[in-house]
Point group: C2
Chain length 413, copies 2
């Protein structure tokens, strides 16, 4: 029998009725003989209610006290779920972050996990208890309560799975798995049985909101098999794990990711000399604006054009910064365009398969889409295109790489 | 400068506005140079809200998890009050029971305090922090969260004051002090400047709801000066402490207490033989019925009458038990009367003053009240009378012992 860590988010435990449903599910796994650790978030709305109380007092409450305040939300859920399990004849025990103990640094409201003491949990698991742990929180070396920041419950679950050497970490959500692309854009999008950590990271960073990036990184680092499942529907979900060594050949492409939230800035007529990229992007970084794609072509005469993308909400601020920069470096002009989007083809298989890039460009060309910028990584090719072509591009690529087809063997986990 | 522990109950911290008012008060004490530890309850209504959630799941939730659940209520208040203090430029830090650490036994929902670690609190106080502690809760030796049961926040405050060797423990309430008797019964009732622990215990057990009996016992045991004050009105309150040795003579009588919640049971024609009291009261105790006053007169012939009082709500059950007992011991009859009340004259001074009893009986005789039962302790004389004479009796005694008069010197603390 295996040791499973299961994480349920705020919506999944948002009412007593849903907590009872979660208890049913956990009891079933326990009944099958598995050892189970459950990580829970605060009931949906509770964290916001607590923060609103704090904001009645202060706009910027002391982070230490904010952590003391909001950490009660998960603690409430752990107690209620333990009761619901006990009611079902399943021995259960709640733990808050400090009781486990989940040791973090002292960066209140955005702490990072340093260590987890697995001794007490293992003792309880050995005695047949289901252990219910408050997500999102820990304790620093001085015994102060810390929180990992919003969404941190995924990270708690993965960290616990790593510390306890669990066989699987199951993240229950409101979707039944990870898809080849957004089903709202492509009808033929299908749930993936399996995806690698790296692919998931690329998909996640492109706006796929299924999992916290931080949790995926953590899982990859400690090789914790992650499974994304629907809280209230049955199904195998999607396993996020290392490449499947039992398969002779990995599928070339896992999926098509995209992001509408991009805006493009071009500094035109930049003198072609060393250090110019830093003189442009330094002030942007100083203004706390994150840059995504960067492209600089070789200069044709003595000047070049320097283009990069930022989140759309940062465009105005970035423009203001760049105007000053352009003057300083004697550039000709600053142009911007917020009507762009990024589309990416993601898959570890492309490492060993030549021609993925040219196949992608061909597919886009076939439907008449002009590519404005291109960047590539080992497992991803991204293009920036006009926003109005986004859906068309995603569908063309999804179909070109054979993702529409039903998979050969859909084996439930 | 002194070290003060201040306790604010659920009503005093029931809204953000009231928490701000409490912060004003605490800040004032801190501004005067005192070291301050604040003990808070959950915001009024919060504990009930949490218990209602639990009861949606189970009528009798596991006590361990109930403690995990309700202990969040006080934790929320500690964070909010700390924020409100920080906002006023007063350095403040919250602590829950486990952080302090308030070590208790493992009797969940009614735990008893065993030990308090004062090291961290002293360190914070030395650094000028106001320390805000969650009342009502602690932690057992295994690190499980425990609660002291309802009203336990008073006990937390007194226990902290004892552990920290505080100069005074201030309990803020919705009354401005302890009165010579209930002002709703006697217009001339007046606030006492000072009362002894023993007197307070006798007054409290008679239905004066100002303080938890347990907290007064605790304070007496460790000689912690307690002060009862109004949360939102200024005033010196009432100091509960050892007898004032600076006074040449202690006032004879502190106050008149009374209790309507009494019912009387008489077993008539009880054979006068050893062990009979136990054969009557044993089954009553087994039925978890608490007995208050007990009177057995010397037997006139071969039988005697055995009378005792119970809480009115227990009368029916007590009658059922007694009917069987009367048969077993061959008694003649069981009679009961729920229309009785108990009135007590309380005061440590009566130890050294003869004639208090006769003065009390004379005062009652003067207004034509018949005394049904009498019991006495070193510092209390109680009589059982017909309920309809209660107010009359209290007024007569209050006036007879000179309690109506304005006190000679009302020195603010």
């Amino acid at each position: 029998m295996s040791l499973i860590v299961q994480k349920f988010g705020g919506t999944s435990v948002g009412t007593i009725e849903r907590i009872e449903q979660v208890a049913d599910k956990v009891a079933r796994f326990r009944g099958d003989g598995h050892s189970v650790v459950v990580v829970v978030s605060a009931m949906s709305g509770e964290t916001n209610r607590l923060i609103a109380l704090a904001h009645e007092i202060q706009d910027r409450p002391v982070p230490r006290e904010l952590d003391v305040l909001v950490s009660t939300g998960e603690q409430v859920t752990t107690a209620l779920l333990s009761m619901a399990l006990n009611k079902r004849g399943v021995k259960a025990k709640s733990y808050n972050g400090s009781q486990v103990r989940i040791l973090t640094d002292d960066a209140h409201t955005k702490a990072r996990i340093r260590d987890i003491d697995d001794e007490r949990l293992h003792a309880d698991l050995d005695e047949g208890y289901v252990v219910v742990v408050a997500g999102f929180q820990g304790v620093d070396e001085q015994g102060n309560i810390t929180t990992l920041g919003r969404g941190g419950s995924d990270t708690t679950a993965v960290a616990l799975a790593a510390a306890l050497k669990a066989d699987e970490c199951q993240i229950y959500t409101d979707v039944d798995g990870v898809y080849t692309t957004d089903p709202r854009v492509v009808d033929g999008a299908r749930r993936l049985d399996r995806i690698t950590f790296e692919e998931m990271l690329e998909m996640a960073s492109m706006g796929s909101k299924v999992l916290q990036i931080r949790a995926v990184e953590f899982a990859g680092k400690y090789n914790v098999p992650l499974r994304v499942l629907h809280s209230f529907k049955e199904g195998p979900g999607t396993l996020i794990a290392l490449e499947d060594s039992s398969q002779m050949e990995t599928p070339t492409i896992a999926g098509i990711a995209f992001n509408r939230d991009e805006a493009k800035l071009t500094v035109v007529g930049v003198p072609d000399m060393p250090g110019i990229a830093h003189r442009i992007l330094g002030p942007i970084g100083d203004a706390n604006i994150e840059v995504d794609v960067i492209v600089q072509n070789v200069a044709d005469d003595k000047t070049t054009d320097f283009t990069f993308t930022v989140a759309r909400g940062d465009l105005n601020r970035a423009q203001d910064v760049l105007k000053q920069v352009a003057e300083d470096i004697n550039a000709r002009d600053v142009r911007s365009d917020s009507k762009i989007a990024k589309v990416s083809v993601v898959g570890v298989g492309m490492r060993s398969h030549a021609g993925v890039a040219s196949q992608a460009f061909a597919a886009l060309a076939e439907v008449g889409i002009n590519i404005q910028m291109i960047t590539t990584s080992e497992i991803k090719i991204s293009v920036i295109i006009e926003e109005k072509f986004l859906e068309l591009a995603v569908r063309a690529l999804h179909s070109s790489f054979g993702l529409d087809k039903e998979p050969q063997d859909e084996t439930p986990a």
